[in-house]
């Protein structure tokens, strides 16, 4: 009896040990493969040049169009998401502070919204485009990605805001502040670290998403100079070039994958560092 228990325990300890380390191994292997394949293909030309004539048959050029395009698109979408999401998150935590049930229902809905796949947002963005008579363009892409990342931004920011003690708000009210002033001067300031994290999280999600811009952003070899022009993005550049039969073109897809992965890593790590740095001044 005792012996069997010990054996059972040992077996499951080994299984869970193996599970944990194989998870780590798989994920490291993934990063290794992507970097190993891409670093060789990466050059300054790839990063700093636009596609030239014959690019898609292995000719000269780079993916600058996609890098800049992704950047424009994600910055635009993040700005729009902040415009909608920041006041919404503050509203949940200031005006609705006494209504726990309403708060919880809203959080519940937003969490469920977080799980909606980006292809659905893409299809919806397409429907909206048709409705307003827009073409696949930077603007349409920005709107679609903004819809995708706003729930993420709001919930991530809200997670931090909800930890701020109610007493702090009460103190602010008792000093004669309006709700707006309390929201901006107390909550926003206290939750600033969370805001930065949420911002970068949303930005990272926006820059990496392919399915939502497939319909709405279009694709171009140029850098867009106005909102109604189509825009290239990194994920789509990878996707299109990888399906090419020509080896040189596929090589650039690997390079683009490394660029995108580095962007994401930098964003994630700086989000962590910044949130640590800003959370120093928080009153607990």
């Amino acid at each position: 009896m005792r012996k069997w228990k010990t054996i059972e325990e040992q077996i499951f300890k080994v299984i869970s040990f193996l599970a944990a380390y194989s998870v780590i191994a798989i994920l490291l292997f993934l990063l290794f493969v992507v970097f190993n394949k891409g670093i060789g293909a990466l050059s300054w030309d790839t990063i700093l040049k636009l596609p030239k004539g014959g690019y898609y048959f292995g000719g000269e050029g780079g993916i600058l169009n996609a890098i800049i395009g992704s950047f424009y698109l994600s910055v635009g979408a993040t700005v729009l998401a902040v415009f909608i999401g920041l006041p919404a998150a503050l509203f949940i935590n200031v005006q609705l502070i006494r209504m726990k049930r309403v708060q919880n229902t809203i959080r519940y809905l937003l969490d469920a919204l977080w799980g909606i796949p980006s292809i659905v947002y893409g299809a919806f963005g397409f429907a909206v485009m048709l409705f307003f008579g827009l073409n696949a363009s930077l603007l349409a892409g920005i709107i679609t990605v903004a819809l995708l990342i706003t729930p993420i931004l709001v919930r991530a920011f809200d997670e931090v805001l909800k930890t701020i003690p109610v007493e702090l708000q009460e103190a602010s009210f008792s000093l004669g502040s309006t709700r707006t002033e309390t929201a901006l001067k107390v909550l926003f300031k206290q939750g600033f670290a969370g805001f930065i994290t949420a911002l970068l999280l949303a930005f990272g999600r926006g820059i990496g998403d392919a399915a939502s811009v497939l319909f709405t952003g279009g694709y171009t070899d140029n850098i867009p100079i106005s909102l109604d022009e189509p825009v290239a993005t990194l994920p789509l550049a990878i996707f299109f070039q990888l399906s090419s039969p020509i080896e040189e073109v596929r090589q650039r897809a690997y390079a683009a994958a490394v660029v995108l992965t580095i962007f994401i890593l930098v964003i994630s790590v700086s989000a962590r560092l910044l949130s640590k740095r800003y959370s120093r001044n928080i009153i607990k």
Binding site: M1, R2, K5, T6
Partner: protein, 275 residues
């Protein structure tokens, strides 16, 4: 009958205690030698030496954060759950070092029943909470288990309150009932020691009194180690008081001596301020 035979076997341990020689009874049940607990940030217990006498209520007293809970949980090695703790020294339970135990750790832990600050019933029914320890021991006899559940629930005065709903989830009980259930659950594995970590801090005055009275009855057969910061509770219950401060034992002795005539400034100050 077969049931009775089994019952006698499980009672063997208690019986053997009755046969103990006088010298054995006077020997301390737990000997703590140079017990230290550290994290990377600092020391929680600084080389504790302490003998726990048999069949007494020993009260660990001291301000919060002084290490009394850590000391209590080192005794049955629940410190294992906190991977950041580094434990050194010896804790001899009936002469055997629990810190060096490996396969027999669960058996050694069954010598000690635990009562924590808040009741933590297991996520199963009332009945299964009480039978849990016996099942782990390998007891399969249904009659024996049913008998144990009934007698232990009776012992803590819970039987009449729950006998009609034994299959209800344990967290449907009130906090006071849950704490008594946790005591019954602990007694069902027939321990010789009861570790109680501020067991009444979450309870109402009536439940507190019930638990305290139970302790007074139980000390005839059990050694009870009680952590508390309530001075009056220590006075009411203790046979032996150990006063701790920042990971050290400052004073110990009979409550009438050390609480009425404290020798150290720290204890004097603690007794005046209350905390």
């Amino acid at each position: 009958m077969f049931t009775e035979k089994l019952f006698k076997q499980t009672n063997a341990y208690t019986k053997s205690k009755l046969k103990m020689s006088k010298a054995d009874i006077e020997k301390p049940i737990i000997q703590i030698k140079g017990l230290s607990v550290k994290t990377h940030e600092g020391e929680i217990l600084k080389s504790i030496n302490l003998d726990i006498p048999r069949n007494k209520i020993v009260v660990l007293l001291g301000p919060s954060g002084c290490g009394k809970t850590t000391l209590l949980k080192s005794l049955n090695r629940l410190t294992d759950l906190h991977k950041e703790l580094i434990v050194g020294g010896e804790v001899l339970i009936d002469g055997k070092d629990i810190l060096k135990a490996s396969q027999d750790l669960p058996i050694m832990r069954q010598k000690m029943g635990l009562l924590s600050q808040r009741p933590f019933p297991l996520p199963v029914s009332i009945y299964k909470n009480v039978s849990y320890g016996l099942k782990l021991k390998g007891v399969r006899n249904k009659k024996l288990i049913a008998h144990s559940v009934e007698s232990n629930l009776k012992r803590v005065g819970l039987w009449d309150e729950v006998k009609d709903r034994l299959n209800n989830p344990a967290n449907s009980l009130s906090i006071g009932q849950q704490q008594r259930l946790c005591l019954a659950r602990g007694l069902a594995v027939k321990p010789t020691i009861i570790l109680a970590d501020e067991p009444t801090s979450a309870l109402d005055p009536i439940s507190t009194k019930t638990i305290e009275n139970l302790f007074k009855e139980l000390k005839e057969h059990y050694t009870i180690i009680l952590v508390t910061h309530v001075l009056r509770q220590a006075v009411r219950l203790a046979d032996h008081v150990v006063f701790m401060y920042y990971g050290d034992i400052i004073e110990q002795g009979h409550p009438d001596d050390i609480l009425k005539n404290p020798q150290t400034e720290i204890l004097k100050k603690y007794l005046i301020d209350g905390n």
